[in-house]
Amino acid sequence: MSAALIPRNALAWLLSAQVVVLLPHLTRLPWWVAVLWLGCAAWRVQIQRMRWGYPGRILRTAGLLLTGVAVFFSQGTLIGLDATVMLLLLLFMLKLLEMRNPRDALVVIYLGFFILATAFLFDQGIPLTLYQCVGAVVLVAALIGLQQSPARNDPWRALRSAAAMLLQALPLMLLMFLFFPRLAPLWTINLPSTESRTGLSDTMGPADIANLAQSPELAFRASFEGDIPPPSRLYWRALTLSRFDGRVWSQDRLLERRQPLAVERSGATLDYQVIAQPTGRNWLYSLPGSVSDSPELRALRDDTLRAKRPLSSTFGYTATAFERVQRQRDGLTEDERQRLLQLPEDSDPRSRAWAEELRQRHASDAELVNALLRHFNQQPFHYTLRPPTLGRHSNDEFLFDTRRGFCEHYAGAMTFVLRAAGIPARVVTGYQGGELNPRGGYLLVHQFDAHAWIEAWLPGQGWQSFDPTFQVAPSRIERGLEEAMREEGSFLADAPLAGSRYRDIGWVNNLRLTWDDINYQWQLRVLNFQSEEQLALFKRWLGTADWRRIGVLVLSLVGLVMVVQALIWLRPRRLSGSPAQLAWQQLDQRLCKLGLGVRAGEGPRDWQQRLRQALPQQRAAIDGFFDRFVEQSYAQRQPGEAQAQLKPALQTLLRSLPRRRPPAPSQALD
């Protein structure tokens, strides 16, 4: 076996397959990886051309060690997903240099399939999936090329066969996708780090959300059972921020314990489904007072939902909202009240003084809140994406000097004043509104829909949401950020290529929404197709979700297909060809029943001879047919008039044949 070489065709396909398989990874890897591949490939080509030799043992060992070191320096570790995938890729390249015989090439190709799969750990979108199909075709072509003879020089044949084979495998793939049990993983791996992704952060300082509002990236998609509620109801809560250090609002872990929150729910229900984009964090988006029975998430005491694992890929869940919710009407615990009134000692003296003043003027908490909202509405506050920078006492400066700010300024300042006036309050961050995709009937919520508002606890009412931004710029709530920033012209000013900027141009917008719809369906129906959905599908199609019955059904389906296939194979062959060939095939079919059908590669005269011996009584008829057959087929350049006599001769022969094969004449044994 060691003498066998790798065919040139196979090497060409193998190298192409490596390029195709490596490309999706190259964007994440340092530039020298591509250079290393070029080096390895060039060396392997030189080996194939018999110009260079294989690297020696020392060189290979050094290469292996160097690879490990390089991965360590590039990723900072040798374990973890990024580093191991990188190590795998590098070894995949280096393996080229010790690929001596077809068996080694097989190893490289199988590794290629594995690497094909690893790309899905980083991205599961439609473009990558389609691209990986190409990768699979090329890998199979390399496998085929490996089986071709070294002298055959038709690379496209391998590719055509590969494509045909994978197309034939498509039904099987669909069957497996639908029916293969979704087993829970035996172990989990830390999926790729997503620190650099844009999204909400768990703290909120001045201008944080204004920065986020510059991003056109998608945050999540939401669809509703029934009509989509008006924008004023679409407050997607993600986080509550209850700690303030004078500048930055952050979470208070103790207020987010897993402890049931007393919620009174009533009125019409609203079921919705959210498919969140990966954030690397575990907070989810929900409407106030929602309940969800998805097993992968849990509800916290501050009425937010959390996934059990950080979102490393898209994550779908369903939840139900209610028309009227009243949260924690019974009252706060003393500890909670303390924490919800917490303010830093020495910040914003003017705001505190103003809060005292408001407190004295308004006896009830509700009145005070309303007065504050009226203040924002009536005073010349300005809603802007380009707020001026604020100094040490940011709330003071904002409330009394600049009066220009984005939603976080209003939410932060209002919470501060409420707390200073003795009303428990917190900042809520999340998203507000969303863009309707009329094709799919779902909402697209982008990063620029990020929003901050407040919740205050009022005696007898529990937690109530208030949005100071609505008092300043009602169009932000009702028609979205773009409308609110129309005058200022600052909507996505830094992202000239973002599709969302061109909503005014009809066909561009159409294209964008259609593409998004396709992506949404992909995520909803393909990526999100887990065991729950599978069982639901079985229930709908088969009326059962019992695995045994499903197994029996699938097996009988497969059996049915095999029976049909067998019937097709066993069906009498359809006759085709010239009249002489037809007669030949007809005779063959008839004689097969006597066990005297034509043998592989048997010519007419040889067959005739055999028949004459086996059927001595029919010799005349046999000779009559075969003589005419030979005369007609071979004695003239073109088929002549003997053709007309062939049919009667065949009929005579067929009629004369016995039903059963006569016992072999004793002398005819040869």
Binding site: A3, Q147, Q148, S149, P150, A151, R152, S578, A580, Q581, W584, V598, A600, G601, E602, G603, P604, R605, D606, V630, S633, Y634, A635, Q636, R637, Q638, P639
Partner: protein, 305 residues
């Protein structure tokens, strides 16, 4: 005239016992104007066959023993200075005989081999700038020994292709060998062979071969055979158009020997192993000796009708 052919066949049969199939193939090869390569162990009757053929056909016979120091001039001839006429006079080499036995052709250097093979292909030789016609009929029987390959120069595929057929005589059957041992000495049997076919007759027969009818159905069969070798993964490479032409010519000659004026698939099947086995190589066979089994495989794979 065709009776003369079967008479010739019988006459050689009497010298080389029990090898009628090989003799018939050799005759078909001459009729199709091809050349013959015999690959067999020493002492199997290669020389006897060629001598008997030469005698029966009344051809002049020359044997060239190929050795590693054989030079092209030893085959083609050389010009020698004649002092009397003060001119170079060409002394023709053995190649100018009508039937040549090139014995152990793989022992000579490629240069000498190619001198012979070029002559076979062109039907003429060029020495010292003068082109000289070879006699007509001109027939080469080359032999090589399949064992003890050390110090030999194996014929490359391109040169093997120049031979219409490759035969292997093989051991005689027990009955034939008994006859051989009990009968007269080979030499005397050979001397007893009389010329049965004149040059004119042979040329006429050779001219008749292309007239044998090959119907469209038969040509289709040959095409199926050839295409099967080209498309199958079992063959390292397919048969060349020269091979398909050779196959048709040999099948026609065979039909003629069978006293038939048209070719039937059995004729093709009879000559196919001899015509294609040295032109085929199995994919998984680097030595190139698997041609015979490949030819049998080919016959079984392709339907004659």
């Amino acid at each position: 005239m065709k009776d003369a052919l079967s008479a010739a066949q019988d006459a050689i049969d009497k010298v080389l016992l029990g090898k009628s199939q090989s003799i018939k193939l050799a005759l078909a090869c001459i009729l199709a104007k091809g050349h013959l390569l015999i690959e067999d162990l020493p002492g199997m009757g290669k020389t006897t066959l060629s001598q008997a053929l030469a005698r029966v056909l009344g051809m002049s016979y020359q044997r060239i023993q190929f050795t590693s120091d054989l030079l092209p001039g030893d085959i083609l001839g050389t010009s020698v200075f004649d002092r009397n006429s003060a001119q170079f006079v060409f002394h023709p080499g053995p190649i100018f005989a009508e039937l040549i036995l090139a014995d152990e052709i793989n022992r000579a250097t490629p240069k000498s081999q190619s001198a012979l093979l070029e002559a076979m292909e062109e039907g003429q030789v060029t020495v010292d700038g003068a082109t000289r016609q070879l006699p007509d009929p001109f027939f080469v029987i080359a032999t090589q020994n399949p064992v003890s390959q050390s110090g030999t120069f194996a014929l490359p595929e391109s040169q093997l292709d120049r031979f219409l057929m490759r035969l292997s005589l093989g051991y005689p059957s027990e009955a034939a060998e008994k006859n051989l041992l009990m009968g007269a000495e080979r030499r005397t049997r050979l001397d007893a062979v009389e010329p049965l076919l004149g040059h004119e007759q042979l040329r006429a027969l050779q001219a008749q071969v292309p007239q044998v009818t090959a119907s469209e159905a038969l040509i289709d069969y040959i095409l199926r055979l050839v295409n099967h070798t080209r498309n199958s993964d079992s063959c390292a490479w397919g048969l060349s158009p020269r091979a398909s032409l050779g196959l048709l010519a040999a099948a026609r000659a065979w039909a003629m020997l069978e006293q038939r004026h048209y070719v039937i698939p059995e004729d093709v099947q009879a000559v196919l192993p001899a015509v294609v086995s040295h032109r085929l190589r199995a994919t998984n066979d680097p030595t190139g000796h698997g041609g015979d089994s490949l030819a049998r495989w080919l016959l079984n794979e392709v339907s004659p009708v």
